[in-house]
Structure formats: C-alpha cells, structure tokens
C-alpha cells in the first residue's frame, strides 16, 4: 500500500506554526477518514486535526510539545485511498524510499528536531511488555509486573538498567514518608497551554513597566443590591459580583477611554477601543485562560451574568472557540474567596490595564464615632506605566471605587 503524509493544515489566519499537544493515534493504528489524529495548539485555541484518508498510521511527525510548521508532515499513513481533491493532491509526494528503516545509518538531515519517523518507537498501549527472560525473572523476584516498567531498549524492550532505575525510583519514593533526605529531581516538560502562558507572562513582565494601585472598596451597598436582585431574579441566571464590576468598569471607561486601549509598542500606536471586550481570567485544569466577554458595555446585568457563566464553562471544558479567547480590550482577574488582600496582576498585552479583584470580607469601619462592620474588598489594578501615568491610574481606580460604593451611580445618567 502506498504511504502518504498528512500535512499540518492551515489552522487559523496568520498562523505559521502550531504546537502538538495530543496524539490520538499511535503507530500501527488504523484510522478512518475524519478520525481525529492529533490536537495542535495555536495562540490560545486547540484545534483537532482529522485524518484525510482511511489507512494505517506508519509514522508520527513529532513528539508532544514539539512545534510544527504549517504544512509539515503530521503523520505518515499507509493508505490505498485515492487522493480525492486538489487540496489533497498536494498531499501526495513522490514515492518514499522503498524501505525507510528506523536505524538507517544515514538518516535524512534533521538538525533541530526528530525526523518524521520516531527513532525509537515505544511499545504501544496494551501491547506486550518486552523483556528478556533474565530481566523478566528479576522483575518477578522484585514482585513487580513488567507493564509497570518503562522500556528504553529497541522496540520498547525493558532492559536490566530500566528495572534497576525503576527499583531505585520506587525505593526513593517509599522513603518519602520518613524524615530521610529526599533525592532526585522530577522534570516536567513545559508544553501546551503552560508554555503559552509562560511565554506571554515573560513578554508582559519584561516589556511592560507595571504600576499597581491597590484601593479598598466598601461593597456593602453593592452586595445589598446584588442580594435583592438575586432574590427576585426568577428564571434569570444568578448574579455574581463580576457582572456588577463589569458594569462599573464599563461606566468608568466612558470617562477614561485611555484605559480601554491596546498599546502597539512596535508601531508606537495606542488604539483606544470603542467596544469594551472584557477578558475574564479563568483558572482551568490546564492553566489560565482568558475568555472574552464581548461588548460588555451593551449587556444587561443578567445577560452579562449568563454570558460569563457560559464562557467560563466553555473555557473549563476546553470548548471555547478561538474567537471567544481573543480580542479583549481590558482584563479582570479574580481569585474569588482566595483573592488575598492585594495582588500585582500582570497585564494581558497589548492591553494597558488589568483589574484584580481581591477577597471580600467584613472589616471594622470607623464611621466617625465608632467601629461598624462593613463588607470590604480591595481592588489591585495594574497599568502600563509607559502610557498611563500614576495620577491617571489613581483617578481611574478612584472612579471605579466610587461607582462600586454607590452602585446607583452605575445606572443613572448624571
């Protein structure tokens, strides 16, 4: 059967490369047309790549975490399917050498990353664990099962050294409950979303001089309002604090258009945006993602609540679309009950402001005569100090504070 490559397709406008985050197939798997073979990640969207033909996977184009260029060979597939369309016709290439072998002494030049065929295919999931009889005996005597032990030999064969390594690892981990010294370093590959976050944080923190303003806000009235609205909401979504903060933010931004802006520092241009697209920093299992509440300025409180709930679910289940994850003009970050007294949020570039919401709690308040209990909450807002002066930052935070302390101001035109 002829072998054909399936190339990494164009997965988004302007995207030139994508990171392999999941393989859905292994070498030897038989796939049908449209079966998902891999997931790749670009910017913040994860895209599933389907197979173009029925056939058998004979080589994978890289390891998890590897960045592949658009058009690079994603997999090689043994298929007798006729190449259906012109687009797929482009997929064919001249016949591969008759017997491309793994241990070929003169492999094709691949300077920076592994070639299309992995050099050392490991045993497949559920496949037999390979080991010589002497190694098997050692494993038996140690009371282990072969399949517990990763094999590093040819064809995934378990070597004597693999067993020794496994045993020393096991004995190292078994002493962790005592006070004995621990040894060893666990290496965790930074891939996928984590790598993306790392890159963006590095860039933001290195390029942007941050100024962070922390202010205390009395949210007793705001919380009263929220409780009343929730008590009469009927079928409407439950109102959390976020829609109210987003409404206050939109209101404040009408007077401070310089805060709802992107700073293109390479072009030397500040773009003030009309719409308020609020990025909502959301913790997911994989890491931080920022779904975007679009046109927050035009949403009612309950619509806003519904949209935020939908976005956060989509983000947590990994189903947020690329559109839902890009295009924010300002970002809110909240750690909820863990929100701390103050934080120093990192700006989500090219934005210029990020608003951090800290923990709400009852604190003593001096009303001139005595201490009274009030619900208080801090705001920690970071600004791009290259384009926003400290004075302006303080005025903006003060404005948000005023709106939140007297929520009627959010909704009346004064």
């Amino acid at each position: 059967m002829p072998k054909r490559p399936i190339k990494l397709p164009d997965v988004g406008e302007g995207v030139t490369e994508a990171e392999l985050v999941t393989w859905h197939v292994e070498i030897g798997d038989v796939v049908r047309e449209d079966d998902v073979i891999a997931e790749v990640m670009t910017d913040k969207a994860t895209v599933e790549i389907p197979s173009l033909f029925d056939g058998k996977i004979v080589a994978l184009g890289g390891e998890i975490g590897e960045v592949l260029a658009i058009g690079a060979d994603l997999v090689e597939i043994e298929t007798d399917a006729d190449v259906p369309s012109a687009q797929a016709a482009e997929q064919t290439r001249s016949d591969p050498p008759p017997n491309p072998k793994l241990d070929d002494p003169t492999p094709p030049v691949a300077p920076s990353r592994p070639s299309a065929a992995p050099l050392r295919p490991h045993r497949s999931e559920g496949g037999p664990a390979l080991a010589s009889p002497a190694v098997r005996a050692r494993v038996r005597e140690a009371g282990l099962e072969l399949r517990q032990i990763p094999g590093t030999g040819p064809a995934g064969r378990i070597t004597r050294a693999d067993v020794d390594a496994y045993l020393s690892l096991a004995s190292a981990s078994s002493v962790q409950s005592t006070t004995a010294r621990r040894t060893g370093v666990e290496e965790i590959k930074v891939i996928g979303l984590r790598r993306k976050i790392a890159e963006r944080m590095t860039a933001a923190n290195a390029r942007i001089p941050h100024i962070t303003v922390v202010e205390e806000v009395d949210v007793t009235a705001l919380e009263d309002l929220r409780a009343k609205m929730n008590a009469t909401r009927a079928e409407k979504p439950k109102l959390t604090l976020l829609p109210l903060i987003s409404a206050a933010l939109c209101r404040a931004l009408t007077d401070h258009p310089d805060m709802n802006a992107h700073f293109d520092d390479e072009a030397g241009v500040i773009r003030r945006h009309g719409p308020v697209h609020i990025g909502i920093a959301t913790a997911t299992e994989a890491g931080l993602v920022v779904p975007v509440l679009r046109h927050a300025e035009a949403l009612s409180l309950f619509d806003c609540a519904g949209e935020i709930a939908r976005l956060s679910t989509a983000a947590r289940t990994g189903q947020a679309t690329r559109e839902e994850l890009t295009g924010s003009t300002i970002t809110i970050t909240s750690l909820g009950p863990l929100g701390a007294i103050a934080t120093t949020p990192i700006i989500n570039p090219p934005e210029v402001v990020i608003l951090g919401i800290n923990r709400m709690e009852t604190r003593p308040h001096w009303d001139g005569q005595g201490f009274v209990p009030r619900l208080k909450m801090n705001l920690s807002a970071s600004f791009d100090h290259r384009v926003i002066d400290g004075w302006n930052a303080a005025v903006f935070v003060e404005r948000v504070k005023a709106l939140l302390e007297t929520p009627a101001l959010i909704f009346v035109d004064a």
Binding site: G28, P98, P121, R123, S132, A137, P154, A155, R157
Partner: protein
C-alpha cells in the same frame, strides 16, 4: 500399609514429571515420584526418542537406496529391522537409565507402581512391595496423554498406534496412516523411506492444518517425491472385510491395502483411572485447567504437561515442571514464556516458533535455495521466515522448513524470548557456511538490505 510423607509428590515420570522432580530435589524439597511404567514417559519410551531413532535409520537406509547425483552406487542394500529395533531400544534404555540416575542424584524417591489419588494431599501407590500411602504438601499431576482411539478403528490387530508402529519388527509392505499430523507424517515418511508403500489419509484439506500452506508445501512436495500417496479431504471409515482401510473421498468409498493401519489422529489426556475425578478439579475441556504457576482449582494441587492441553510437547511439560518445583519451593517463577517452539521431524523438517504471519504483522522469507550449506547437502527446498512488528521491528515469530531446520529452533526461541528486533539478528554474525545464515539473511531482508538474494 506403609506410610510416607513428602513435600512434593509427582504422579507420572514423563518429561514434565521427572524434570519437576529433579528441580524440586535440587531445591531441597523432599520429593516422591510415582511412575507406573518407566521414567521418561511417552517421550523417551514410545515417542520423541524412538521416532527420531527410526527416522535416522530410515534416512540412513534411504541415502543408500535412493538415486543420487553424488556418484555413490550401492547394491543389495538391505536392513535388518530386528537389529534396528535393538539399536533403538538400547538408546531408550540408556536414556531412561540416565534419567533414573539423575533422579537419584537429586535425592528423589522413585516408586514404580500405579498411583491412586485419595484426596488432594494423599495418594496410594500400588508397588511390587505392596500398597503405600503417601501424604504430601503439594501434588503434581503429570500423567500425560495417550494416542486417541477412533471408534471406527479401535486399536488391536493390524490397527496400531504410534507406540506399536515404532516397534514393528518388519517393514510392512503397505502402511495406511490415518491422520496427517506430525506423528503420522514422521512415521509414514520413515516407513516410506524403508520401502513401505504408504498412504496417508487426512480429513482436512491439507497436512499439518494448524500451520499455513506455505510452510507445509515443501513437506507435501517431498512426500509425493517419496511416493507417499497423500489423500487429503478423505475420511477413514473403518476396516474392510479383508482388513484393509476403507475410506470415503467426496462421497465415494474405496479400500486402501494396508498390512498395518496406523491411527495417529491426536492424543487424549490421561485423566481417568487414578482417582483424579475425586478432586473435582476445574477442567478446560478434556484438560485440567491451570494458571500461570500450573496450579489447578484445588489448593496445593498442580498439573503439568499433556494433561493441561496443547501444545502437547515434552519441552513445554519440562518448563512447567521447573515452574511448579520452583513455585512450591517459594521462588517467584511463573509461566511468562513468549513462545513454545514446535518441531516436526518431517522431511523436510519444520520448525515453528511464535507468531505465524497475520495481517498486522510484516513477514520476510529467505529461501534455502540461496544458502550455500543447503546446496552442498543437496536440499534447497524450504525457507526461513520472520514475522515481525512493522512499527518496532520486534520479531514475534520465526519459522523454517528445510532439511536440518529443527536445529534452528534454539536460535529462533532465544531470539523471541530475548525480544530481539530484526536489527539484533541482522547485526549478529552467523557462521558460514551454515543453514543458520538464512536466519541472519531473513533479518537483513526485513530491514531491506538482504545480501544474498
């Protein structure tokens, strides 16, 4: 009644039982082996060894009588089959004595007599000196198998099993063999070489039906060259009035002249007549069900060898015997073999280790016609075949058919147990000129760079 106690009691002194006993003795277990006849079992007494002796004699005789290109001319060659039998019996006697010596050296007590299981820990042995009651901590059933009898052709008269066929004092003028398995083919071929007119009757559409047609084709070609009348898809119906074999071929019945009729249609496990049914063990069909340490469903009762089913091979029984002895001695042994080699001493010989070709696997085949050693032995029929995982190139099966191919079984088994890849075999120097070079070549071939084809 005399009473004895031991840690390990083995019923049956065949290859499984005696190896289990020797290993147990080595490990310091107090071991008793009860054997009704001679130690060595079917294998040494009426199986592997006598048949190989007969095949050797037949080959030696045939080499003298068959026309050849070597310039050797022999006249008036004849065979004294009584002497052949005596020679064969001396080999058997030597080996069984050897086994007895090995058992003695390992401090195993051998009792000759019929054993009866009273319960899972108690056996009565009826020896010449009277009955003996033996209690044990662990019991091993190693009672083997016997030739399967056909209801239409019960053993007796000129209907014989392999046991009698290997002890015939004359070469029958005509021999009908019922069953195209390895036993029927081995004996039938030997008899043909000794001058008998042999007909082999097989019910399925080819001989050795458990193997693929490519593997058995050189064997059928040789059978026909030797003048053996091979009747496949043919049913043996019974004895005709004249004592010949009546067969049915596509609905039409006919007789095959036969001085003797060898029935070799398989082997039946020996599970009756010694109280095994008292234990109510879980069975797997006619066989005793065992786990990875050959333990049966009753605690402390083990079974090894042919009573545990296919493949019914001496070396499998031996390996099981070692595992049981070591397990009872407290060692961490268990059945985790990747392959049980199987050899048919047909002409040409056939050896099968591991996986046969399948759709998931890749295959490489190297013919002996391209092997120098095979050419010098005038036998270029057959080939070596490797079955391997195309993704990892791990070898999962090795087969060969060819003269002398049986001796390749060791390399095949080592390669598969060691989980060798094509590259491992390809990079191993194989001596020239030997048949084994074909094994290295088949690995080269799989890697795409065969040197001699």
């Amino acid at each position: 009644m005399d009473t004895q106690h031991c840690q390990l009691l083995i019923i049956g002194g065949g290859p499984g039982g005696y190896v289990c006993a020797i290993r147990a003795g080595q490990l310091g277990l107090k071991t008793i082996l009860v054997e009704a006849a001679h130690v060595g079992g079917t294998c040494l007494n009426v199986g592997c060894i006598p048949s190989k002796a007969l095949i050797h004699a037949a080959n030696a005789f045939h080499a003298q009588t068959a026309p050849n290109d070597l310039g050797i001319v022999s006249e008036n060659v004849r065979i004294d089959t009584a002497q052949t039998q005596a020679w064969k019996n001396s080999i058997v006697a030597g080996l069984t004595q050897g086994v007895s010596g090995l058992l003695k050296r390992s401090n195993v007590t051998v009792m000759t007599g019929h054993a009866t299981i009273l319960d899972g820990k108690t056996v009565r042995a009826d020896t010449q000196d009277g009955p003996c009651r033996i209690t044990c901590d662990a019991l091993v059933v190693a009672t083997g198998a016997r030739p399967t009898e056909l209801s239409d052709l019960p053993f007796g008269g000129n209907v014989i099993s392999s046991t009698e066929a290997l002890s015939l004092s004359t070469v029958p003028k005509t021999l009908a063999v019922v069953g195209g398995g390895y036993i029927g083919l081995e004996i039938g071929t030997a008899m043909a070489k000794l001058g008998s007119n042999v007909t082999i009757v097989e019910a399925s559409d080819r001989v050795l039906p458990q193997y693929d047609a490519a593997l058995t084709r050189p064997v059928t070609a040789r059978l026909s060259a030797l003048g053996v009348d091979l009747r496949v898809s043919t049913k043996a119906c019974g004895l005709s009035h004249s004592g010949d074999l009546e067969i049915e071929d596509h609905g039409s019945k006919s007789d095959i002249p036969a001085d003797y009729i060898l029935v070799a249609v398989g082997r039946t496990p020996v599970t009756q007549g010694f109280g095994l049914e008292n234990l109510m063990l879980t069975m797997a069909g006619p066989y005793i069900a065992v786990d990875h340490v050959c333990a049966t469903s009753m605690r402390g009762v083990f079974a090894i060898g042919d009573v545990t089913g296919d493949p019914m091979l001496a070396h499998r029984a031996m390996a099981q015997g070692v595992i049981v002895a070591e397990h009872v001695a407290g060692l961490a042994s268990r059945w985790d073999k990747r392959a049980v080699p199987a050899v048919c001493f047909t002409d040409p010989e056939l050896v099968v280790v591991g996986d046969l070709p399948s759709d998931d696997m890749a295959t490489a085949v190297f013919p002996f016609a391209a092997n120098g050693r095979a050419l010098t032995m005038e036998r270029t029929d057959g080939f070596v075949r490797a079955v391997y995982d195309p993704a990892t190139e791990a070898i999962t099966g090795l087969q060969a058919v060819g003269m002398g191919a049986s001796e390749l079984s060791g390399e095949f088994a080592v390669a598969i147990e060691m989980c060798a890849t094509l590259r491992d075999v390809s990079d191993t120097i194989h001596a020239h000129p030997t048949l084994g070079e074909a094994v290295q070549e088949v690995a080269h071939l799989g890697l795409g760079h065969a040197l001699h084809i």
